[in-house]
């Protein structure tokens, strides 16, 4: 087990390292480049050259990369030029991280809470109207572009019928105290319950929009997996032994059926991070996703580098944790 974990961690570090290298080369091949992004297109050649030298961009690329690594180790990731001008790119990431975590976790909770029970019911009542309806719903869910759904929800439930707020994470006029950056949590901690409810109301629409794809995928995996397990001999044995359906459901069916579901949930994190780019843009959420879209637009390369590397690292780490938990649950995985 320990060997398995060590091997996977080393693999992961390798992947992230190669990624940082690729990203570095990629940034320097972007059209325009950092210098024009800072100075604009009409700067004189002399100023351009001076800035190129000041930023160390005239050095060979491997020297630049080593310098980047050295500075990164000191906590200096380069100044943001477009998203939060002047601040260190890593600060931009840290400032926006709680918003995205709050959104993606809420979306994941919605998806899991709906998808797993529905998947179980659909499998138990195979070919019933509930099953067919849920399958069709999940297929449509995958076919709708996420940002269009986000706009639709916003149009219906924030503008036509103003049940939920239009955008943002919280009503600034409430003057809520900030503690952790997670607004719902902050409201609960400071006992400003109206702040917590307001933050929750802001969460509903973007989280629902973001939850559709993971919902559809997790639902289908759960349904297929429960259908597989229901056919197993041990379930039939349990039934013929006269065990109560609660015991069979919990101990024999769900425990075995949930294994592939766990992996799928982990894999959905990547999709959630990508979906957050779109949903956060629609709802002006102020998280990492919106910052990514903005930094592409404003050519803020320092921020882009940190955000992409961070998003990929989160994705890789979550999947590593999923793999490890999988190996703990299912010993057969370790031997592969």
């Amino acid at each position: 087990m320990a060997r398995f974990i060590v091997r996977r961690v080393i693999q992961m570090i390798g992947v992230v390292f190669v990624l940082s290298l690729l990203l570095f080369v990629w940034l320097r091949s972007l059209p325009g480049g950092t210098v024009s992004a800072i100075l604009g297109e009409r700067a004189t050649p002399a100023t351009r050259e001076a800035l190129t030298k000041a930023l160390g961009l005239d050095q060979p690329i491997h020297v630049q990369y080593l310098r980047f690594l050295q500075r990164a180790a000191e906590g200096n990731f380069g100044a943001s030029t477009g998203v939060l001008p002047g601040r260190d790119a890593f600060d931009v990431f840290l400032a926006r991280l709680p918003a995205t975590i709050e959104l993606t976790i809420t979306a994941m909770i919605i998806a899991v809470i709906l998808a797993i029970p529905l998947g179980y019911i659909a499998a138990r009542r195979h070919h019933s109207p509930i099953d067919n309806g849920a399958v069709v719903l999940s297929l449509i869910g995958v076919a709708v572009p996420v940002f269009f759904l986000a706009f639709l929800l916003k149009y219906w439930f924030a503008i036509e019928y103003p049940i939920f707020p239009v955008s943002g994470r919280q009503d600034p006029s409430l003057g809520c105290t900030r503690v952790t950056g997670f607004f719902v949590l902050d409201g609960l901690m400071t006992r400003e319950y109206d702040c917590a409810t307001d933050a929750l109301r802001h969460l509903v629409l973007p989280a629902v929009a973001l939850a559709t794809i993971p919902f559809a995928v997790i639902f289908r995996i759960t349904r297929a997996s429960v259908l597989d397990v229901l056919d197993e001999d041990y379930v039939r044995t349990a039934e013929s032994k006269g065990l109560t359906s609660r015991v069979i459901r919990g101990r024999h069916v769900m425990r075995n059926a949930l294994l592939p579901v766990v992996t799928t949930v982990g894999l959905q994190i990547g999709g959630l991070l990508a979906g957050a780019v779109l949903t956060e843009r629609v709802f002006n959420w102020g998280g990492i996703g919106e910052a990514l879209a903005l930094s592409y637009e404003r050519r803020d390369y320092a921020v882009l580098q940190v955000l992409i590397l961070a998003a990929c690292s989160i994705y890789v780490i979550v999947n590593l944790l999923v793999d490890i938990s999988y190996a703990v649950i299912d010993p057969r995985v370790r031997t592969r």
């Binding site: 190669v18 972007l30 297929l139 076919a143 572009p145 940002f147 503008i159 990547g270 990929c312 994705y315």
Partner: protein
């Protein structure tokens, strides 16, 4: 590891056998699968390409999900072919420009000769939607085809040669897979100094290469360990022939399924790239994703500009997804759903 592999292969084979014999299939698919089941385990591996596809087709023909998906896809392709003939106007002719210039009426309403009205530049919306089917099909098919070719080459190399090549290819694939696909597509689209339809196509294709490569490599590895490949090797069949005649044809099932599903996601991803401002800036002959992405700025005042292309995308993506999912079920020897 090597001692574990044959065991699991056998287990899978037995599972497949057990599945096809123990439970009669619904919808009369029994005849197809029992042909696989009567023989012993060895012959399951010998002719699965033919019998699996034949039995899959038998099941597909009666599957309403597949038929609906295929009908939508057929309609879509038909529309793309005939759209130049039935489109009432040129897609980039600014015929309603006068109406756009009046400040009170920036988006021309439906009227005589323009059943859906015009867009923000006075171009006929219906004609743009019709011609859009062509461009959408083009983007979907080309992006998928490029991704497929890249994945086929890498996956076949890794799966057929194994060893160092396999390790090198798979580490590269791991790196690409560690980037969420939309982020990867955005990064590649951003590289273009002059964005065009092609940069969108290439950006989407690259995100699919690692997926196809891993998929193909997985089934190629299983094939490598199988009895019929061993037999071919023992008979002295050349490496090349073993790969192309015995391993590859038996590994394409999952690839076909994935191809169908990717056709849907490619069209949706093209829309997302346009929405983020990384799409094709030339909208004289737009694809639906481009129309949807561009119209989001008017979405609260003139939602129909976004809703029409969105409905087209949803419809077509649903068609491809229905086909892909029913293919997956039909090609999986274990499924009885």
């Amino acid at each position: 590891m090597s001692s574990f592999n044959p065991l699991s292969r056998r287990k899978e084979r037995i599972d497949a056998l057990a599945a096809s014999t123990a439970y009669p299939r619904e919808h009369g698919g029994t005849s197809g699968s029992s042909a696989v089941a009567v023989d012993d385990a060895g012959s399951v591996d010998e002719a699965p390409g033919v019998s699996l596809i034949a039995s899959a087709w038998r099941r597909l023909r009666r599957n309403p999900v597949f038929l609906v998906g295929a009908a939508i896809t057929f309609l879509f392709i038909l529309l793309a072919v005939v759209s130049p003939l039935i489109a009432p106007h040129e897609p980039d002719a600014r015929l309603l420009l006068d109406q756009v210039r009046q400040q009170t009426n920036p988006i021309p309403a439906p009227q005589e000769g323009f059943p859906l009205g015009g867009d923000d530049r006075g171009r006929d919306l219906l004609s743009r939607l019709l011609i859009g089917s062509q461009q959408t099909l083009l983007v979907g098919v080309l992006a998928t085809a490029l991704g497929l070719i890249g994945g086929l080459v890498l996956g076949t190399l890794a799966g057929a040669l194994g060893g160092g090549v396999d390790a090198a290819v798979m580490r590269a694939v791991d790196v690409l897979l560690s980037i969420p696909s939309l982020l990867l597509a955005m990064s590649i689209a951003a590289l273009a100094s002059r964005p065009s339809q092609w940069t969108v196509i290439v950006a989407i294709a690259v995100t699919q290469v690692p997926v196809f490569a891993r998929l193909l490599r997985g089934s190629m590895l299983a094939e490598r360990a199988s009895d019929h490949v061993l037999a071919a090797r023992a008979l002295g069949v050349r490496q090349q022939a073993v790969v192309f005649r015995h391993m590859l044809p038996n590994s394409v099932g999952p690839v076909i399924v994935q191809t169908t599903l990717v056709l849907a996601t490619a069209i949706i991803d093209a829309a997302a790239l346009s929405f983020l401002g990384l799409g094709n800036p030339d909208d004289s002959r737009p694809e639906w994703g481009q129309m949807l992405g561009a119209s989001t700025k008017f979405i609260y005042d003139h939602p129909h500009l976004a809703v029409y292309p969105a409905l087209c995308i949803i419809f077509v993506a649903l068609g491809f997804t229905l086909m892909g999912e029913s293919l997956r079920e039909a090609l999986d020897p274990k499924t009885r759903r």
